[in-house]
Structures are given as structure tokens and as C-alpha cells.
Symmetry: C2
Subunit: 364 residues, 2 copies
């Protein structure tokens, strides 16, 4: 069992990473003194409920906890106000009170939705994350929880830190390969922004990671969580440093928006975006070979590095402008200096960005 | 001009109370360094917009602020998820960003709704309150913001402190008398729980308060805000002390629920509830004459002290049980010991509460 401690003063919390943790959920919640009088609400999605909800419920009720559940549809559409209201209804009907907790059993979607419920039910009750995707190692650190507005993703949210995170590696065995790879994009991102050695470790252990080898996956998630935790501890409320976590995300979000959500999933879009960032980095004088190494790392993890031909460069540029980060032809970007090191550059030229997006369409 | 400072460490803020402050809103926001680049969103209701929105907009734009507005319907129904979504849409379409602020121009309804928008837009942006009701002196201190779930009032919310509160007394001149009196119920409540002298001052100045004399109203609101601020500063997150602010509210909420929201408004319901608390206090050995004095104070402020005959005692008791505060026939109540002093009593007998509700129907 591995433990990462997220240091945030009195809001600090541990992430437990290991196999078979769901079976022991009851004793972990006991250890963290969650209430046995006040009901717990488990929020999960239909794909996760089938294999794992029973295991979790059994462990909790065996330990004497009272449990209510809300099962939502799988996928991004569950991060809506109407699903939020439905989960709130379950919480009220289930009799949750100020001492209750909300448990997110699932990926980033369930984590964000359940976290926003926990953050706003009676103005905030306790929250526990039980991630079941690789990508959720990212969302389990930082306390950002949110739902979508029809006009903009993650627009409605709060900061709400969990009491603990219980990461049962065994659940990753049923995760579709494409989702595994997408999660690895965020994992290697943590290496690319902060830890050169870890980035190369991901490359060397790419096959084990892709096949969800428990040993490699455990280490990779521990490292990924630790790096994010280190960044977030220094900057809880996203002022400056925390922005480096957005490596590849400006271009990535624009790709997602233009492709239509779902065609290219988040991890894939930021993979292409990180190649874009590397191209910008090299153009501005970063370490030679940066682009090739970045591409190799991403490809080895099963990720796309080329922008599909049919996505219009114009529309991608327009989508980026919507992010309102252009000021007088200049744009703010997280730009790599070398593998493992980035800087925030507020003066990236519009034309350089446009040329970069064009270059992303070239097969290499 | 009067100023109350709400002391909450780095979240401290001032409440400015005076006549004609809306005309000077621009310079107050300048003084508090709100952004002139990022648009402000004014949230107000249709009844308040008519006389006051123009004045506020003019002052802000004259100072160089960019302004967007959202006008919602008057009354409690605007504290819904659908109105919340509509206001969020205005915020997004208006281009609000992380440096923007939301301004609540109105009573407690607008304050709670706009505050919840500010607390959740992009995970929290700045918030300014401009109260236009007497009752809103209560909601302008404490940082509680919330909307309603169809099954329960104020169920969905966060704590979000304003940057400043600008209380323009002149706006109270158009407030209907019934709303003025209802607000005075919370004002005298602050005396009853904390400050004997102030409670008697309200009785002595009842006529001036009811007719919205600027001098008396200014002093009363200053005192009311100060007392709430003192309580909240000691207990920001409602653990123990803060509960004394609920004097009269347990019975009051039950009366509101049974009467159907609207027939008896909040301030009227807690007025009857405070007589109930005084009756419980006397039964448990409080200062002699407590009930009579409490009744006299409330009646002098134009408030009801008798429970309408047609409201069923059974249904009121059931509504109280829904609050989940009964534990084995015992209930937690804020109980007066004397005028200006209360205690939290966790062992109030179910039967005593029931007898009290029955007594509340008796005209005296
Ligand atoms: N809060 C944050 O800091 C943060 C950070 C990154 C991403 N996010 C959010 O996370 C979301 C994406 O997360 P995600 O990729 O985990 O998506 P997800 O939760 O939708 O999971 C992906 C898919 O895998 C399924 N699934 C999950 N676990 C499974 C398992 N063990 N076995 C089989 N199927 C399983 C889900 O039903 C879904 O179909 C986005 O909404 C994004 O905004 C949040
Ligand atoms: N957040 C808190 O701490 C807190 C505390 C107490 C009450 N509240 C909330 O406050 C709400 C009640 O507040 P309220 O009584 O101010 O209600 P309100 O905002 O509905 O105002 C009462 C009525 O007066 C009208 N009005 C407001 N200002 C006016 C003016 N200057 N001239 C003419 N008409 C005017 C409104 O349109 C409305 O019809 C409730 O929803 C309650 O839950 C919150
Ligand atoms: Zn991401
Ligand atoms: Zn009240």
C-alpha cells in the first residue's frame, strides 16, 4: 500500500493507493472517523456500479455505516445541473445531515459531480473520493469540483477538499484501454512539467502501464499524485504556479470543443496539445529534441500526437480566443524549457500559435 | 455614514450604512479595487430594478466600470436552480472572468441567489451586497448564501463572504410596511439574544423604526449588523455559538412550512416563534415577565405574536420533526434566560414544545 499526503494545512488529506482497497473501505472510513449515525451517499455511474458498488456497500454496511446510493449515467453529460439536482434529491430523501459524507465511486465525472454535491449540500459536508480511472489521479488532488453549464465546461463549482482518497488499483482492470491511455496522458504530463526522471520512467515502463501492471501503475499513480500535490500545496487557489498543470490544455480544450465532446477524449486532446506546447517551446529556444522526445513518450503510451486533418485550424484558433487569454495578439501559454521543466510565458505570439496548430496536422 | 467591520481574518469586510450610497457606488467599488477591465454582474429583482437599478448603473459606468445585469422575478421562487442557471447564463454571456464581481441589489432573496452565483462561478469570484430591505441586514452578515431545493429551503449553498456591503437607507423608503416590520423582527432578535439595552431601545423607538426614520433605522441596522458580526466572528462555520442566531426559528420555520410560504412571511413567523421561545424559557425558570416583555416588543414593531387558529398544532409538530432535531423525545432549542441573554438547551421536552405551540394560539 502506498500513501501520498496532500499538504494543505488543516485541509490536508491522504491518498491511499493499493489493490483491493474497496473491500476494506469500511475500516478506512472508521479510521477517518466518519459518522455511523448520519447516512453516507455513494455517487457512482452505471458502468462502475455493476462491478464495484456491491463490494463497497458490503464493506461499509459490515462496518456499521448507513448507506444511500445515487447511480448516474456514464459520461460527461452527468456533470449537468439536472443530474446535480437529482443527486441532491437523493441526498435529502436519504436524510443526509451536516455530519454525513458523500463518496464518489468512479472516474473524474463522478468525482466532480459528487464533489460539487458535497461542497454545496447544506453549505458543505464531508467528501471521500474512490477513483476508478487512471485520469482520476489528477482530479483526486486539488479540490477542484465542478459541473458544466450548457455554454461552458466546469463553469459552476467550488474548491472542496476530500477527507481521504481511496484508490483501489484493482478497479482499473476493467477500464477500457482507450481510457487507460487517456489517463496516462495526465500522468506523463506531471513528469513533463516537474520531474524529468519520472517522464523518462513513464517512457521506459510504457508497456507495463498500458497493460495496467499493478506494480508499475501503483508507482506511476503515486508519483503523478505526489507531483500534483506538490504544485497544489504551494498554490491552493490557482494563482500562478498552479497554472503549469495546464500544459497542453489550451490547445487541448480547443480541440475538444471543435471536435465535439466525445470524438477525441480529454487525455487524447491534451496529448496533441502537449506536442503543440513542445513545438512552441522549441521555437522559443528550448532544449533540442524536445518535440521528438515528447512525441515518443506520448506515442509509447498509446496516445495520438497528430491533429486529425478534418479539424479546421480557424475554428481551433477561434475556440482558443474564447478562452479570453489573448491580449493584443499575445497569449499566455505553459511552455516547456526542457523535459521536466516549464515556464509560464505571457507573450506567446498569435502567429506562432497558429503556425503550431497547422504543424500539428503533419504526420512525422 | 456608519461603518460596521465584520472581523473574519483575511475575509474581513466593512458594511457601510447611510443615505444616498447607491449614487456613490462607483467610488466605493474603486476604493475596494474592483476590476474595471472585467465586467460586473448586477443581480436584482423586478421590484427593485424599477426605482434603483438605473441609479446604480449610472454611478458604476460613470466611474468606468463595465456592467451587465440580470433581473429576476420578485420573491422566494427566484431562489431556484432554474433561475440560478439563467443568471449563470447572463454571467457567461456577459463575459465575466475570475476578476469580475457579482453585485446583489435587493433583499435577502437576491442576496442569497447572487451570492451563490458569486460563490460558484468559476469556483468563486468576488461578491458585493447592496441590501434594500431591513431583513437583509441579517443576510448581509455571515456569508451564508443558498438557493432552495424543491424539497427543502436553503439546502444548496456555500459560505461566501462579500468584499463590502453598501447599505443605502434611502431605498428602504419604498419598502412595503409589512416587509419593514418583518425585518424589524430580526433586528429585535439581535437584541433579545445578545444586548438587553438594544432590545429595549427597539421598543422605545418602535414608531420611528416602523416609519423608517433615517436616524433610528441607521442606528438600528448598525447595531443589528454589529451583533450578528460579533457572533459570526467568533464562529464562522456554525458550530455552536452561531446557533443562538436561530432564536425563534425552529418554531418559525415550522409555521412557514405549514402555512405555505407567503401567507406568513419569515419575519412574522419568527416573531411568533420568539414568543414560543420565551414561553419555553419561562417554563424553565427564566426571568419573570419575559414573555410579556417579548410580546410587547414584537407587537410595538407591528409584528404578530399569536398563531393563527387554522394552523394545525399536529402539522407544526410534524414539520419540526422534519428538522431532525428531536433525539429521544428531547429537542435542541435556543432558550431565553432573560431579555438579552439566551442559552442552547439540548434537552427541551417534546411535551413542553407541544404545549407551547398550543399556547401560542391564545390571544392575550
Ligand atoms: N477536478 C479536477 O481537478 C479534474 C481534473 C481532471 C479532469 N477532471 C474531469 O474529469 C472528467 C474526466 O474523467 P474520466 O476520464 O475519469 O471520465 P469518466 O468518469 O467519465 O470515466 C471514463 C469512462 O470510464 C468508465 N469507467 C470508469 N471507471 C471504470 C472502471 N473501473 N471500469 C470500467 N469502466 C469505468 C466511465 O463510466 C466512463 O464511461 C472530466 O469531466 C474532467 O473535467 C477533473
Ligand atoms: N443568508 C442569510 O444569512 C439569510 C438570513 C436571513 C434571511 N435570508 C433569506 O432572505 C430571504 C428573505 O429576504 P427579504 O425579506 O429581504 O426578501 P426579498 O428579497 O424577497 O424582499 C422582500 C420583498 O420586497 C421587495 N423589495 C425589496 N427591496 C425593496 C425596496 N427597497 N422597495 C420596494 N420593494 C422592495 C422584493 O421585491 C420582495 O418582493 C429569504 O430567502 C431568506 O432565506 C438569508
Ligand atoms: Zn486535464
Ligand atoms: Zn431569520
Amino acid at each position: 500500500m502506498r500513501t501520498v499526503n496532500v499538504q494543505l494545512g488543516e485541509r490536508s488529506y491522504p491518498i491511499y493507493i493499493g489493490e483491493g482497497l474497496l473491500q476494506q473501505a469500511g475500516s478506512y472510513l472508521e479510521k477517518h472517523q466518519l459518522s455511523k449515525q448520519s447516512p453516507l451517499l455513494i455517487v457512482t455511474d452505471e458502468k462502475v456500479a455493476d462491478p464495484y458498488l456491491g463490494i463497497l456497500e458490503q464493506s461499509l454496511t459490515a462496518s456499521g455505516f448507513k448507506v444511500v446510493t445515487a447511480i448516474v449515467g456514464s459520461g460527461e453529460t452527468s456533470k449537468s445541473l439536472s443530474v446535480f439536482e437529482a443527486v441532491m434529491t437523493k441526498a435529502i430523501e436519504g436524510g443526509l445531515d451536516r455530519k454525513s459524507a458523500v463518496i464518489a465511486l468512479g472516474g473524474g465525472v463522478v468525482g466532480d459531480l459528487a464533489g460539487f454535491v458535497a461542497g454545496t449540500y447544506m453549505r458543505g459536508i464531508r467528501f471521500v473520493q474512490m477513483p476508478t480511472t487512471v485520469l482520476a489521479h489528477d482530479s483526486s488532488v486539488g479540490g477542484k469540483v465542478a459541473i458544466n453549464h450548457p455554454l461552458a465546461k466546469n463553469m459552476i463549482g467550488v474548491f472542496h477538499q476530500p477527507e481521504l482518497v481511496l484508490y483501489d488499483l484493482s478497479t482499473l482492470k476493467t477500464l477500457p484501454a482507450r481510457e487507460v491511455y487517456a489517463g496516462l496522458a495526465e500522468m506523463v504530463k506531471h513528469g513533463l512539467i516537474w520531474d524529468r526522471e519520472f517522464a523518462y520512467w513513464c517512457l521506459e515502463h510504457a508497456e507495463e502501464l498500458k497493460s495496467v501492471d499493478m506494480q508499475a501503475m501503483g508507482y506511476g499513480l503515486e508519483k503523478g499524485c505526489s507531483i500534483k500535490a506538490a504544485v497544489v500545496s504551494k498554490d491552493e487557489r490557482e494563482n500562478d504556479l498552479r497554472a503549469i498543470l495546464n500544459l497542453g490544455h489550451t490547445i487541448g480544450h480547443a480541440i475538444e470543443a471543435v471536435a465535439g465532446y466525445g470524438e477525441i477524449i480529454h487525455g487524447e486532446a491534451i496529448s496533441i496539445g502537449m506536442v503543440g506546447s513542445a513545438l512552441i517551446g522549441e521555437a522559443l529556444g528550448a532544449e533540442p529534441g524536445l518535440v521528438d522526445t515528447t512525441r515518443e513518450m506520448l506515442q509509447s503510451l498509446g496516445l495520438p500526437t497528430v491533429l486529425p486533418e478534418h479539424l479546421s485550424v480557424d475554428r481551433i484558433m477561434t475556440a482558443m480566443m474564447h478562452d479570453k487569454k489573448f491580449l493584443e495578439g499575445q497569449m499566455t501559454f505553459v511552455v516547456p524549457l526542457e523535459i521536466g521543466k516549464v515556464e509560464i510565458n505571457r507573450n506567446v505570439d498569435y502567429d506562432l500559435v497558429r503556425r503550431t496548430v497547422e504543424l500539428l496536422k503533419k504526420e512525422v
